[in-house]
C-alpha cells in the first residue's frame, strides 16, 4: 500500500468539490426524483437519520417522499482512502438544510423566532468508489464514481 501523490490528493479534492456542488444542487432541484438516484447503484447503502435505504431504488423512494429542501454546504473535506487505486474517497459535509416551501416557516400562527422555522444542521458522510463497469465518458475522466455508502443525520 503506497502513500498518495500530490496528484491523487488534487484529483480527490477536485472530485469532492464537483460532487458536493452537483449532489446538493440535484437534491434541491425539481428533477431530484429522476436524477438523485443516479449517484447510487443497487448495491449502495444509505441511512437517513438512522433509517436504512438500499440502493438507487431506496434513494428514489426516500427522495420521492421528501419535502422540498434547500441545502447550504458550509464545510466539507475529502480523503483518498488508502489501499485502492484509483482510490476510494471519503467525503464529509457539514451544513444546513431547510425543508418545506416557506423558507422561514413564517405561517401566521408561528413567530419567526420559533425553532421549528429555522434551518437544521446536517452532517453527511459519503464513501465514493469507482465503477469498473462504467467506462469514462468524457475527455480526461479517470473513472466514474458512485456513492457506495452514505450516512446523513440532522445534528442541530
Amino acid at each position: 500500500m503506497s502513500t498518495f501523490t500530490q496528484n491523487d490528493i488534487e484529483i480527490a479534492t477536485r472530485a469532492a468539490d464537483h460532487f458536493t456542488r452537483l449532489y446538493y444542487s440535484t437534491y434541491d432541484s425539481a428533477t431530484r426524483v429522476d436524477n438523485l438516484p443516479n449517484f447510487y447503484r443497487p448495491s449502495s447503502a444509505m441511512t437517513w437519520n438512522g433509517k436504512p435505504f438500499q440502493g438507487s431504488d431506496g434513494v428514489r423512494k426516500l427522495i420521492s417522499a421528501m419535502p422540498v429542501t434547500k441545502h447550504e454546504v458550509q464545510c466539507f473535506d475529502c480523503h483518498p482512502i488508502p489501499g485502492s487505486q484509483p482510490p476510494n474517497l471519503l467525503i464529509t459535509v457539514s451544513g444546513t438544510v431547510t425543508h418545506g416551501h416557506r423558507p422561514t416557516g413564517n405561517s401566521a400562527s408561528t413567530s419567526s423566532k420559533s425553532v421549528d422555522s429555522q434551518p437544521r444542521v446536517f452532517s453527511q458522510t459519503f464513501m465514493l468508489v469507482p465503477d469498473p463497469t462504467a467506462p469514462p465518458s468524457k475527455t480526461g475522466e479517470v473513472a466514474k464514481y458512485y456513492v457506495n455508502a452514505d450516512a446523513m443525520r440532522f445534528v442541530g
Partner: protein, 530 residues
C-alpha cells in the same frame, strides 16, 4: 452645430425602429449601457444617426455563428466595422471594459444561447473587463482568452472566484498570456494547472490538454431540464429520526473501538499511534457557523453552560500542524490543501497532539452520541464505515463543542502493531469536523416537524391535533379507532364529526376513507373542516 438636437429628433422618436429596444436596455441597466453614445454615420447619400448600442448589436450579429453557437469576439479593435464607426476609445479593446460588458449583454440575447466565445487577440490587460461575462453568459462552455495580457490570478478571479460562476465551463484557453507564460518559464506548470482547475471545477480541457478527473452519473445543471420535473409537496418527513444504526457487524466491534479510541484521544493521543494504519489519512475541519436553532435556544449564553463564550476558534483554524481543512474555504490553494491532509500514522498523531485537549464523555452520557456504522466492500477487502456525532468539553475554557467524525476501518491484520496492542481494527481514514454546539436532542428518536406549522409526521407516529376539545374527544375513544380518526383528521383537515362519519361509512378503512374524501371534498360544506 445643432447635431444633438437633430439626433434626438431622429432616433428618440417614440416607436422609432431602434429607439424602443435601446430604451428597454437603458431602463434596466444603469451600468455601461445607461450611457448611450451617439454618432453620425454616412450611408451613401443619406445621413443616418444610430445609437452606439445598435452598432454594437450589428457587430455582434456579424460575429455570431448560430450553427456552432459560437461568438467570435477576436481582434475587436482591428475590425473594419468597429473602426469605421469609431466604436472603441483610443486605447483599443484593452481599455474597453464598458464596451466589452455591452457586448456580453447583447450576446446574452442571442438565440440559441452562446456556448463558445472567443476573446482572443484583444490585448486585454485586466480581468475586470471580463467581470460581467458570468453574469450575462453563465452557460458558456468554451472560452478562449488566448493572446491577451492577463498577468495575475486576480484577473482570473474576476470570472472564477465565487461559487456559481461559469459552472458549465468545459474548455478554457489561456495560452499567450503573461500569467501562464510566467508559470511555465518558472517551471510551475503543475501549480498553474492546479490553480486553474481549482477555479473552474467543471473544466475538462485546459489549454488544449485534458484534465484528469473523476466523473459522476448525475446530469450537469444544463441538461437536467430534460428530466421530468415534479414539485415536491410532502409536508412530513419520509421517516422518523432513528436510533444509532449499526448493522452487518458485531456491534461490540464498533463500541469496543469507540470506548477505547476516545479516552486515548482525550488523555494520551500519542497512544493512538498503533491504531492508525501506517498510510492512514487524518484531517480536521472547522465549521464556525453559529447554528440557528442553538442560537434561538440560547445555548451560547445559558447558565447551564457558562463557559461557551470563552471558547476560541483559533486553535481549530490554525493549529494542528496546518490548520482546518475546510475545502469550502480553501483560500490558501494547493499548498494548504496538501499540508492539511496528514498522511501516515505518525503525521496523524502529531497533528492531533497539536489540537486542544478534549473530553468526550462517551461512556458516562451515551445519549449525547450517535453512531451509524456498517461494513462496506472495497475491492477485495472488507471495511467498516463509521460516523459518530456528539459533543466534547474543550480545555482550558471548559466550553462545549459539537463534532462529527467519520472513520474507515479495516480488520487489524495478524501480526500488525494494532493487533499486538489489542485493537480489532485499524483506521484507514479519519475526518473530524468541529462545530459550534448544538444540543444532542437533534437526534432524539421519534417524529420530526418539517417546519413550523406543519404536522409532526406520518403513519403511526401522528400527533394529536392542538385543538383541546378534539383532544378530549379523542382521548375518550378506544383504540384502534382513536389513531384511525387522528390519521384522517391530519390528512383531510376534516373536523371530528365528519372524520368519524367518513370512517364509519368506509368500514373504518383509512385508505378507503381518504379516497372517498378526495372524491367528495369539493362538495363538503365549509364547516366540515377544522
Amino acid at each position: 452645430m445643432d447635431r444633438d438636437t437633430r439626433m434626438r429628433d431622429v432616433s428618440d422618436k417614440p416607436g422609432g425602429r431602434k429607439g424602443s429596444a435601446a430604451k428597454t436596455i437603458q431602463h434596466k441597466n444603469r451600468g455601461p449601457l445607461g450611457r448611450l453614445r451617439r454618432n453620425a454615420v454616412s450611408n451613401g447619400d443619406v445621413v443616418v444617426e444610430r445609437k452606439v448600442v445598435d452598432l454594437w448589436r450589428e457587430f455582434v450579429h456579424r460575429r455570431w455563428n448560430p450553427e456552432h453557437k459560437f461568438l467570435n469576439l477576436e481582434r475587436i479593435a482591428e475590425d473594419e466595422f468597429v473602426r469605421q464607426h469609431r466604436l472603441l476609445p483610443g486605447s483599443g479593446a484593452s481599455g474597453a471594459g464598458k464596451e466589452i460588458a455591452v457586448l456580453f449583454k447583447l450576446a446574452s440575447m442571442l438565440q440559441p444561447k452562446v456556448e463558445t466565445i472567443s476573446l482572443a487577440h484583444n490585448g486585454l490587460t485586466s480581468g475586470s473587463s471580463l467581470s460581467r461575462l458570468s453574469h450575462y453568459l453563465p452557460g458558456v462552455v468554451n472560452l478562449s482568452l488566448q493572446d491577451n495580457k492577463l498577468s495575475t490570478w486576480r484577473d482570473i478571479d474576476y470570472i472564477s472566484s465565487k461559487r456559481g460562476r461559469l459552472q458549465q465551463l468545459r474548455e478554457l484557453i489561456m495560452v499567450e498570456n503573461p500569467l501562464r507564460d510566467m508559470e511555465y518559464s518558472n517551471n510551475r506548470i503543475d501549480r498553474y494547472k492546479s490553480e486553474m482547475v481549482r477555479r473552474f471545477p467543471s473544466l475538462d480541457i485546459l489549454d488544449m490538454e485534458a484534465i484528469p478527473k473523476i466523473g459522476f452519473d448525475a446530469p450537469a445543471a444544463s441538461t437536467s431540464a430534460v428530466a421530468s420535473t415534479s414539485q415536491a409537496t410532502a409536508t412530513t418527513f419520509p421517516a422518523e429520526m432513528g436510533l444509532s444504526f449499526i448493522t452487518g457487524v458485531d456491534s461490540s466491534v464498533v463500541s469496543n473501538f469507540l470506548v477505547r479510541f476516545f479516552p486515548l484521544f482525550d488523555n494520551q493521543r500519542a497512544g493512538l499511534l498503533d491504531v492508525y494504519h501506517p498510510n492512514a489519512t487524518f484531517s480536521f475541519s472547522s465549521n464556525t457557523t453559529i447554528p440557528a436553532r442553538a442560537r434561538i435556544e440560547g445555548y451560547h449564553y445559558s447558565k447551564e453552560m457558562p463557559n461557551q463564550r470563552k471558547l476560541e476558534w483559533t486553535p481549530w483554524l490554525t493549529g494542528g500542524h496546518g490548520g482546518s481543512r475546510n475545502l469550502n474555504r480553501m483560500g490558501g490553494g494547493i499548498d494548504k490543501m496538501t499540508k492539511t491532509l496528514h498522511v501516515g500514522s505518525e503525521a496523524a498523531v502529531k497533528a492531533m497532539a497539536d489540537l486542544p485537549i478534549t473530553k468526550h464523555d462517551i461512556t458516562g452520557s451515551p445519549e449525547k452520541f450517535c453512531v451509524d456504522a456498517w461494513p462496506v466492500q472495497a475491492g477485495d477487502s472488507p471495511q467498516l464505515f463509521v460516523t459518530i456525532h456528539g459533543q466534547f468539553t474543550e480545555e482550558p475554557s471548559l466550553g462545549i463543542r459539537s463534532f462529527d467524525r467519520s472513520f474507515i476501518l479495516a480488520p487489524a491484520p495478524e501480526g500488525s502493531r494494532a493487533r499486538q496492542t489489542g485493537w480489532d481494527v485499524v483506521i484507514l481514514s479519519d475526518q473530524l469536523t468541529v462545530r459550534a454546539y448544538s444540543n444532542h436532542e437533534a437526534w432524539t428518536p421519534g417524529p420530526m416537524r418539517v417546519q413550523a406549522g406543519e404536522p409532526m409526521a406520518s403513519g403511526s407516529s401522528l400527533q394529536p391535533p392542538a385543538n383541546p376539545q378534539i383532544q378530549v374527544a379523542l382521548s375518550a375513544m378506544p383504540e384502534p379507532q382513536r389513531s384511525l380518526v387522528m390519521e384522517v383528521l391530519t390528512r383531510t383537515g376534516l373536523n371530528l364529526e365528519y372524520a368519524v362519519q367518513c370512517l364509519e361509512s368506509n368500514a373504518w378503512d383509512v385508505g378507503r376513507a381518504i379516497a372517498n374524501f378526495e372524491q367528495v371534498k369539493g362538495t363538503l360544506p365549509r364547516d366540515a373542516f377544522l
